[in-house]
Symmetry: D2
Subunit: 341 residues, 4 copies
């Protein structure tokens, strides 16, 4: 039984607590939050866990094996350092930290202590993403030409980081994972419309170039009326659309199909000719990704698996976010990324 403490039970923390609590190999022994209302509300659901406003009560408790940190990004580094230096394994919500430099230091501390760091890039545990990975490995899509991503929704603004730091980590983590490579060049355009005075961008368009000549274009926004989480993979053989919001058809694979007959005799035929090949929508398991992610952290701690979302992966994502924001500052000037960091 792994004894676990959780620091932060705001927006995302309760989901982590619930999933670790439901895991038969984990016991949540302590929960910390500086907001006493949240602490009482969430803690009340887990009466066997102690509640504290001071994270050091968890860090200094020798019976705790591992700590989950689900707090604002700016506190990931100091809290994570405290956890590692007390000799405990660390689960950090994404993005890993506020800078690549902070990520490197956390990784160094974990290496020295022989401790596990895992970063909460949840999508890598989504059954749909695993299915896409498998389809790509099978060569179903052929060579990937480009990926076009829209990750937008209304109204959950962050106050400490911009929309790139908030939403793009999902996409960068998935792309790096699916391509098995990191981007070489990043360019981005961003604007701040709502939090203008703070200069926090709420909409951005980010372009990544990967070593295999693939482009990935990511549109992130906090201002869009719809929650859209859509990735279109265009390959030389087939195309794939991953719509994470669809309740029934998360993945659709499109055959290229026959030539489109180019002459139409009526407005109707023209309007309606929207596709040309077969469509296949494979079954995707509906398991909650966080449940799988929680089990993975357990397996990594036990030495039964190597972290899919290790500190190294977390660092590589943060590198891209940093350069994307640099490009926004430079009016879209492309920024190169050093490989093998």
């Amino acid at each position: 039984m792994i004894k676990m403490g959780v620091i932060g039970c705001g927006y995302w923390g309760p989901n982590l607590i619930r999933n670790f609590h439901n895991n038969p190999e984990v016991e949540i022994v302590a929960i910390a939050d500086i907001d006493s209302d949240r602490l009482t509300r969430v803690g009340g659901l887990y009466p066997n866990a102690t509640q504290t406003a001071d994270h050091r009560d968890i860090v200094n408790d020798p019976s705790v094996d591992a700590v989950v940190v689900a707090t604002p990004v700016s506190s990931h580094y100091p809290l994570g350092m405290d956890v590692l230096q007390s000799g405990k394994h660390l689960f950090l919500e994404k993005p890993m930290a506020a800078s690549a430099e902070e990520c490197r230091r956390l990784n160094d501390a974990a290496d020295k202590g022989g401790l596990v760091i895992m970063v909460g890039h949840t999508f890598l545990f989504a059954p749909a993403v695993r299915k896409i990975k498998a389809l790509m490995a099978d060569g179903d899509l052929g060579d990937i030409y480009y990926v076009s991503i829209t990750r937008v929704n209304l109204g959950i603004f962050q106050k400490d980081v911009n929309v790139v730091w908030d939403l793009a980590p999902h996409d960068v983590a998935m792309l790096n994972h699916l391509f098995g490579a990191n981007p070489t060049v990043v360019s981005a355009t961003g604007r701040s419309y709502v939090q203008v005075e703070k200069g926090i961008e709420d909409v951005a368009f980010v372009t990544l170039e990967y070593p295999g000549r693939q482009i990935a274009h990511i549109h992130v926004s906090w201002l869009d009326p719809n929650k859209i989480r859509q990735m279109t993979f265009v390959g030389s053989r087939k195309m794939l659309v991953y719509d994470d919001v669809s309740p029934t058809e998360k993945i659709k694979v499109y055959d290229k199909g026959v030539e489109i007959q180019p002459h139409y005799d009526s407005f109707g035929e023209f309007q309606l000719q929207l596709r040309s090949g077969d469509i296949f929508s494979p079954r995707v398991d509906m398991a909650e990704p966080l449940k799988i992610e929680a089990q993975h952290f357990v397996d990594v701690i036990k030495g039964d698996a190597e972290a899919i979302t290790s500190g190294q992966q977390g660092l590589e994502v943060v590198e891209v976010l940093e350069k994307a924001c640099q490009s926004i500052k430079d009016d879209g000037q492309p920024v190169e990324l050093v490989q093998g960091i």
Copy 2:
């Protein structure tokens, strides 16, 4: 009764012929195409129109009042010039010509001859676009922050122009019309995956900045598995999504609605909280835009209306396309547009 000739009955020409034929004030007297198969097939439906392989038979026919040119872009300028110099009114398919310089010369020729030039920016006649224009004029959306556009589909490749010249004219024409202004800066990224050796880009991401600080981002592609024609307008008061492919809800207007409660007790509540306000989908007339466009050309010729899609509008669109392609060549470097051209 306006006697009309049509040059070009390939992909789009038949739609123009059918709509002008159905107009009670127009008589199609002649059809020209260098492809005799197309000419025979399309001409056969209009037995009262003469058929010719040589457009000069139309241009030189003194009984013809106006000529429709629906040929590849590269021939718009020479054919259009022939039409104007023979003293006939001219309807040119979009984009108006292969360069801004060509557009200016055509406009000059029309001015000198006191002739009408109209460019086939069909979407400006779509009832949905007129509805959007009205909603914007009423202040329903507040200040527009940005517009995000996806105009993609599979398989109708052009061989003489890239995807920006093929698909973006629709968006640039609509944006200029809806904002009542031209963009000040253009940047674009493009790639050629299928017609690599020719260097014809089949996917591109174009960013336009308008004088009111608005951004418009346009994603065009010939490689996407789905036909998507979607524009999302994000305003300070409301948002609007125009989905031209939707058979039932082309326009949706989204209220911002109340604050989202930021804490969820379960995965389900979190997953399902996709929106926060009311949605309104106004009735949009289903009239074929080309029918309205055809009537408009008639009205302009008769002096009853001023062209909404005049040669000046056509020129302003081509200016943007030119600069976008220049930016693609320069790896995304922003290009400024001179106003008041």
Copy 3:
């Protein structure tokens, strides 16, 4: 070249005229309608066809080979009889006539004259229906258990027939065609809400039993807010949904897939578990069914094909409609159909 006359250019007639006009083996020589406005408007598009208010001008014209009748149902019998008795082939819009008795007489007259009768059950020419027929023949679906059909939409009321006569012919024709059999028992419930005083039902629920123990349930309505044209085929091996309104995925075939895990740990998993197998959406040709139907009539006249929608098929559909209405009158009492009529 088949010389053809058309009687009736109201709601559906123009579609027939356009498709026969576009057929290279047909010449539309005359159009009749008692509404002079409609006649002038539609006739104006086909200047080479003579216009007449009196259908006898067509029937008595010895140069006419075949006549299309697209008028209200009540006139199908007298007009059809006139056509056949003048020795011309007959295309009748669906439903074939106002009673089974009328259908039988028309068939007798055609037999005696050695003439073709074809009924406009257009859906049998829809590429999607042909695809379904092929999938069923291949055994993909296994044994069909039941078919559930919704064919509803808003506002196109008929004044001379009820909603069963108006909309259900499509479904009965398709079911008879796909099952290769006629129903044995019919029961139906119907209500009149809008045209109450006339007693014309505007909504009905019809249940058909086929010889193979299959049930088909048809919901027809003129009052539904949406245009829905959906058929769900539930088979022992797979299921198929045919959504005629979908622009991109008219046919979807569903695998049964694995067992559903019956215990959920959260509301989200429960809510989202909406399906269990793969989905396949085959490409369906977008050709206009009427174009294929028109060609089929030509082929039948020329002796190159046997009518898929012959007078016999037309009669069998009308038999079902008659019995369904009898059941409505009898408060849903099941009515048996004599086989081999």
Copy 4:
């Protein structure tokens, strides 16, 4: 603090336990199930509750105030009786019991003991249903003509009751609630395709007539490839579609709008004319209905509210189910319901 016991933690029980556990006024003190695996798994999440295989341990525990019964229908009566006779309040999952007679006895026992019975007709607590109730009360829809319901999905078969008992209770409870009346006549057709030898119907079509001449038609099935939970309300002024599966637009209200122009000049205009009025989709709160239901049970026990889904409502639903099954046995013969039972 209400001390609560739960009998049954199979399919639906865990959802009830979770929601009552999350309610600050409830303490789950004991959980019973005869399946020791389920008991251990679910019980493990609530370490403070005692676990037992014998429901009498809960019934006989004097510290328990109220008991939730979430077991197969056939055991509702004996278990519920035990609960009531021990002087505890009773929450019964739907349907209330296996016959109207059983329901009446349970209600009598509760009356005698001055105890609360509440039945788990969860949908009455769904924010969407409350919204519909409010829209109907405001007269937005005018007089309701008919309601057409589809409640189907694949693969969750029951082994002790048929599909009418399994799925239709939701609809009957909602209809009775929304109309404020019980049906007067019931007719139904049903078939058993999968569990043929047991004679358990897996698909059924049920028609209810309400006192105000409204018809409600309910299609229930365990065999449909899709999970559909859709209710269409057709009123004299507007129509409303409630799609419980839609993540974003659960309710859509349709204006009737203008007359449809009955003549189309092209296939495209015809195909695309799918609606005629404005559509309004009001915001619907995404709260989990079970959370509201749990709170309601608490409020009723405390005397702060009267049960919306009381034993009387539960009885009235079961009456309809009984008569529907009688009609299925009688090949669709209509069965009258005595009012004021």
